[in-house]
Symmetry: D2
Subunit: 488 residues, 4 copies
Amino acid sequence: MIHLSSLLKGGRLKSTRTDVVNFISSLNDDRRIALATVLVNEAHVLALEKCGAIKQAVSRKILRALHTLEKHKFSSRRAEDVHVLIEDFVTRQTGQAVGGFMHLGKSRNDQVATAVRMTLRGEMLALDKLLLSFELSIIAIAVKHANAAFPGYTHLQPAQPISFGHYLIANCFSFIRDSERLLEAYSRVNLSPMGAAALAGTSFSLNRAFIAKVLGFDGTVEASLDAVGGRDFALEALSVFALTASDLSRIASDLLFYSSVEVGLVKIPDEFASTSSIMPQKKNLDPLELIRAKCGKVAANFNAALSLMHGLTSGYNLDYQELTPLLWQSIDELSSCLRILSVLISKIEPSEHVAERDYLQFTAATEIANLLVRIEDVPFRTAHQKVGLLVRTAIRAGKSLKQMGQTDWETALGFRLKPRTFSSLRRALDLDGQISTYRTAGSPNPRETLRLIALAQHRCEKLTAEHKRRSNKLELSRRLLRKATAAT
Amino acid sequence: MIHLSSLLKGGRLKSTRTDVVNFISSLNDDRRIALATVLVNEAHVLALEKCGAIKQAVSRKILRALHTLEKHKFSSRRAEDVHVLIEDFVTRQTGQAVGGFMHLGKSRNDQVATAVRMTLRGEMLALDKLLLSFELSIIAIAVKHANAAFPGYTHLQPAQPISFGHYLIANCFSFIRDSERLLEAYSRVNLSPMGAAALAGTSFSLNRAFIAKVLGFDGTVEASLDAVGGRDFALEALSVFALTASDLSRIASDLLFYSSVEVGLVKIPDEFASTSSIMPQKKNLDPLELIRAKCGKVAANFNAALSLMHGLTSGYNLDYQELTPLLWQSIDELSSCLRILSVLISKIEPSEHVAERDYLQFTAATEIANLLVRIEDVPFRTAHQKVGLLVRTAIRAGKSLKQMGQTDWETALGFRLKPRTFSSLRRALDLDGQISTYRTAGSPNPRETLRLIALAQHRCEKLTAEHKRRSNKLELSRRLLRKATAAT
Amino acid sequence: MIHLSSLLKGGRLKSTRTDVVNFISSLNDDRRIALATVLVNEAHVLALEKCGAIKQAVSRKILRALHTLEKHKFSSRRAEDVHVLIEDFVTRQTGQAVGGFMHLGKSRNDQVATAVRMTLRGEMLALDKLLLSFELSIIAIAVKHANAAFPGYTHLQPAQPISFGHYLIANCFSFIRDSERLLEAYSRVNLSPMGAAALAGTSFSLNRAFIAKVLGFDGTVEASLDAVGGRDFALEALSVFALTASDLSRIASDLLFYSSVEVGLVKIPDEFASTSSIMPQKKNLDPLELIRAKCGKVAANFNAALSLMHGLTSGYNLDYQELTPLLWQSIDELSSCLRILSVLISKIEPSEHVAERDYLQFTAATEIANLLVRIEDVPFRTAHQKVGLLVRTAIRAGKSLKQMGQTDWETALGFRLKPRTFSSLRRALDLDGQISTYRTAGSPNPRETLRLIALAQHRCEKLTAEHKRRSNKLELSRRLLRKATAAT
Amino acid sequence: MIHLSSLLKGGRLKSTRTDVVNFISSLNDDRRIALATVLVNEAHVLALEKCGAIKQAVSRKILRALHTLEKHKFSSRRAEDVHVLIEDFVTRQTGQAVGGFMHLGKSRNDQVATAVRMTLRGEMLALDKLLLSFELSIIAIAVKHANAAFPGYTHLQPAQPISFGHYLIANCFSFIRDSERLLEAYSRVNLSPMGAAALAGTSFSLNRAFIAKVLGFDGTVEASLDAVGGRDFALEALSVFALTASDLSRIASDLLFYSSVEVGLVKIPDEFASTSSIMPQKKNLDPLELIRAKCGKVAANFNAALSLMHGLTSGYNLDYQELTPLLWQSIDELSSCLRILSVLISKIEPSEHVAERDYLQFTAATEIANLLVRIEDVPFRTAHQKVGLLVRTAIRAGKSLKQMGQTDWETALGFRLKPRTFSSLRRALDLDGQISTYRTAGSPNPRETLRLIALAQHRCEKLTAEHKRRSNKLELSRRLLRKATAAT
């Protein structure tokens, strides 16, 4: 078992119990940050060399050993953490007289914060890519369904006719906002703590800006205590994950409701469903339920992180070790949900002839009231009350609005309609037609839906360009580091 | 990839996409309930045989196959879940004409609820054992430290003298309550859902009470919809874990504060500490910080479970699949924390000569005020105000109370003391002596501390007896099932 | 502004800033515990008198002042807290030479813990009463709906026929378990901290058991540090509230789904609905949505409490002051939800002729497969696959199962049926009849439903008896205290 | 009781039960959005007039009535909500023939979303102002304490010397990031939903951009379904509040630890403390404990919001009504915490002569190891181990490092030091001097601390300018609306 005390071979403390080392070992979770930790070591050793703190002969030997580690698999659980494992490996390869210098002017405190930020930024970009591709999937299918009426719901009751295209693009905007939040949080994640050492920097003249640059950071976390002790970058990332999860869980809930036997508004291919082990007729939409539940857990992860940070004092606390895995867990869950949902959404079909369903004629009620205002100059509140009565009458009679004649309408409304009013009112019952009568910007009017789609497309393109700019910068820095550490 | 559709070879649905099956697969988490699931199948097949639903020839072949599965490792991830894997295994071994009958009258819905409850009850007993043993560790060390004064704190400020023994036994009682809660929750966990099938029972005359008995349950979950759809048993277990975690996190916080350099009230052996990778003087109590953080996550797990259950409708939902791993995660974290803390607590030593620390003399202030009431017949509120002034005077003068002479006291108090009062007041400054003057039941008076310890011991013994009774019952049922399924 | 420093008129500290006193003032929340606090003071003063710590002349004057306070409204916000307000009132009435003795041997720490426990136990009993009455409402309506088929759901898809009565009684059992949990938690709430003073008891010979008795407690919290510092009693109460809320939110979700236009399984009277301000046809079930949301907040309150307790050290911390209002908030929300839901549930009607809905015939699929096993001796897994095919065929053909003739069935199933099999299979399509064929205990068979209802009724009666026993005990103690404090 | 049905006087539904209206009433919480709701109505009526949907004669009468409402106190609880109350008031004043038109083309759905966003943006700016002023308080005091050593902590153990100024400014940066997040979230809050009506816009040609402009919004929420159904703006605001709370709770925890009797690193004036009701010597820092606890609740509020949103379907749900109060509660708690902490921080003093405390000499260990590397060319890992031994030796001997002579050092280190090494090492024990030897950017070197302070000041100034720009815009729009609605 490799533990700091094995590197120290005595010193301040007698050796730590094996069960304690096992208990505090983070190696299992550290695998995720292993490569980043190696790169951080490379950049740090380079900076030590540049400021003359260690000799070039020493630094180059360490760098060579670190290079071999880049592709290493840290599978064993038999070490306290990845930091100790790396130092132990380098020291075995190069001897204490060389490897013994690699931890000069740095601490696990700044090293782990840096490696977590590097890994996180990469994962955030990957997640952002999945999110953007999900948004494009939505856009691609929304464009096909801008013209047919589809019931919009409030309070789980049919409200007014919209289109499936409008439903989709409206939801798409919430994911676009999530992408924007992701990039804003990224800007606060992609700052380098290195050079902050334990919490107070060091008396060696390490160039923090240089280290930040070769590691692809946009800058440094300025104050050293803030650099090692601040975890708001992680909390903020978790909050963006939670918001995204909340938006995803809503679309899953919608699709479960829309695809229930009774509602039957969308058709989801068999390949996304499971049957029951006992009930032969069942078509269960397992992945949608799991997405909902997994998103609930991602949302709860932010709370778990806040809880474990509650009341901690400044500086590094080992409690942070339990915070990091919440990041990876949330990212993994969200990624798997986005992957499945992107495919599923692209294969979904709204049901045909939705506009012809009798019970949906009642969703024309608002427009009927509007027409009474417009044509009959009735105050809206009066029109609302009268149309309400009309609906009540129809329901009692077990009729749809189309099944009621003009006299039925007039009796229910309580007054005679002007000559052409009735035909106008009846026209509103054609839901496919009605959506074209919406006049406000952003409404489900097909023309507006296409405009919203173009707008969403445009924002996705801007986000994609920004995504590429950041990815490229990270790649460039990787090459920069490689070059700087390779040259003798 | 073994999926329900591979057992069905067609039927209601075309086959499910591989990425979807991977996404919904619970096999990784199912390993924990694998053995229980096999046993549930055995009991169910036995009941099918008993009621004549399947022939003995069929049932005995299935049982033989199931027996071989009891020791099986379900390591592969290549199946939808453990239920399908078991049925597939049995069907391969016995043929469709035999194995095809094993899922008659049952569903994965009742099967998984039953297996989760069986596994959970076992884990709860194991956790309870660790908890009881932790309580006994506390008792064992508390008994040694009943006589020496140790500062009790409120608002993180020294309040009044107690003893380390009192501190320990007071905390012990909260864990004893956790043990009691665990057993109460157990009673609602250990009820059998089997026979509820999908949600509505079955038209086969399965004897639910018999199945419950051979599986070691205390009874059945009566209503079939409740049996498959209720998860309050899991939520309740998680709430008890959360309460236990909250109590554990407090003791970890206390010990971190008590063992800080400045406070220095307890000594924790080096073997529980780590040094820093950069700061040679550091003795960090890593395991205590990790216990605090892990307990924060266990507490948050209950919230995660509540969140993902929020708004779900009755009956089985696949969302439940995400609930189950929270149980195992909380249990594993708590168990590891209890194991470490049991050892650590048994090796802890309060510092010596605590009563002699000058600044702690101020913790005698309450008793000094009490004495003024008792001897000088001053109203308590007046005595409080005057002793407050005395303390303020001492602090301003940079003196301890012992360093102040009678005139200093009298000046500060504002009146002349009766002849023997001053010596009585001074006696209160002997903190080791003062704790013996407490007169109320349950106070840190050493006599009372020993009584509390005996009381805690007694309650632990009762809990241990109850624990054994339940363990024995489970073991007996295991033998009962083995016997019933072995006989031809 | 009455603050401790106004009672002390100087002493240890210079006076506290007004903005700080306003910030830390708990008076607004203290109103809830005001009466209990007065009673605690009475019992304490009585105990001081009994042990000779204060003279009878003094105690009786204090008691008289306290009696006048019992009916006092503490409406003003102009005090630090209710404890100070009471002492200030008594001291003004009786003078410092009398009132100055009332805080002898006690602290706000034990006083507030005691008053919170007293208030909480009362509120828990009141909540329990509402819960029991809700359970009885469910029972009363369940008994009317045991015979007609009603679709049971899993995964939000119709699964098998149950009855509305079974649905109701199954849910009732979860509330019965909540009642049981409430009483179990009550036992840990109803213990007296008084006599623990600040945290270490006192040197006056206060009889803690006596104080506990006259205040209606079942015993004392034994260890003094535990008595003032333990808040697991509050956390446990909050966890029971959270579990109850989770169960309530499920029934609200169910009813929202069942009463949606498309599903239309239950009818809820207009008087529980609102229309839209703009859409005249809307019938929104606002109270059910609010119940779901309020229950989500009650569930989250337990998490808030755990969060704010995280990492606190032993002894009293002012953080606890923020914990208490969570109790009252959760109780108030739950109570209002239970009141509305009790009335609503008693007025709900399942829709008529549910069994005649064509699409629900598929819920007979499990029983059809069972019949193939029973009559045709087909292995269940084979029957399941064949019935699945049958359903798929019917759906493709746009037919219900009743609309398919024997040949259609045989073609789909892939084999010729025995002479009388087909009529048996067709009989299973009569859903109202089918529920009587369930044979397992606790199934939706009407006979079993009535048995479950009787069982639930029986458990409610036992719970009611226990509720009464505890209420009576509290009332008795109230009279006991009154008598003991009234006599000279 | 004013309810929608009282405006409608019949219609779709029979009247709602009074207990139900009381239960669903949001009026108590609506007071917060009352003024904004009036303004929204004004802007909407103006837009109705502009597009010719209602006559100017009508609109001007309505506007006049609305103007009188701007200063109205909505104190009564006797209405369903503020929306109904306003329409009722206007209709009473102007008659149904006028007031009956005011709800044309809008819904409570878009109206409440708009009013919440308007109120929230105002509260966010107010909170931001408090936050900026808190940051400036920190800066003002940090600048005074850049030169004296103050122990930096990790794992609650003294780690390395920093300065109190560095401690303060490091924490300041986390609040500056919170300010930045607040402004970023603001950009997504300050978009207008008006014109989205129920969820689908309207057939009247309302100019949404115009309404947005006169209400001070930066734009509209484009898609109508998104405008009424999206609540991610509220969740995001709550997440920023949670992050800010988390940062505040840390500083409160730090100050509680630093001001504890044993640690004694900072002095907090009496005016921020309370004494105990029983223990005369106590100086409890009540406001800091309350800040910690209140911040825990603010953090938990985000979780509560996520929980209650979990699984909701698209469109407006009444569940949202429970979400809004969480916003105001979090803002109020944070505001009160910031106000108190701003004053407290400005009155805090670090203790004097901290650098002279013997036990803090060990915090020089890192620099001693660095010096051994620099002067004696020992590998750092070796130096670390040897200095660890030195510390262990000193602690065993009960000596400080200054009390040990050169031979003691050499014995402990295990080698002879070069001639001038020992004096260099001893110099490191001068902690006040040591902080000047830090060489990295952002370290506690006084020069760097001043640079960090200037940097923080600069970022605060930019944030303040942005704050002003937004405030001014809001004020301007207010005047714009007033002018547009006043003119005939």
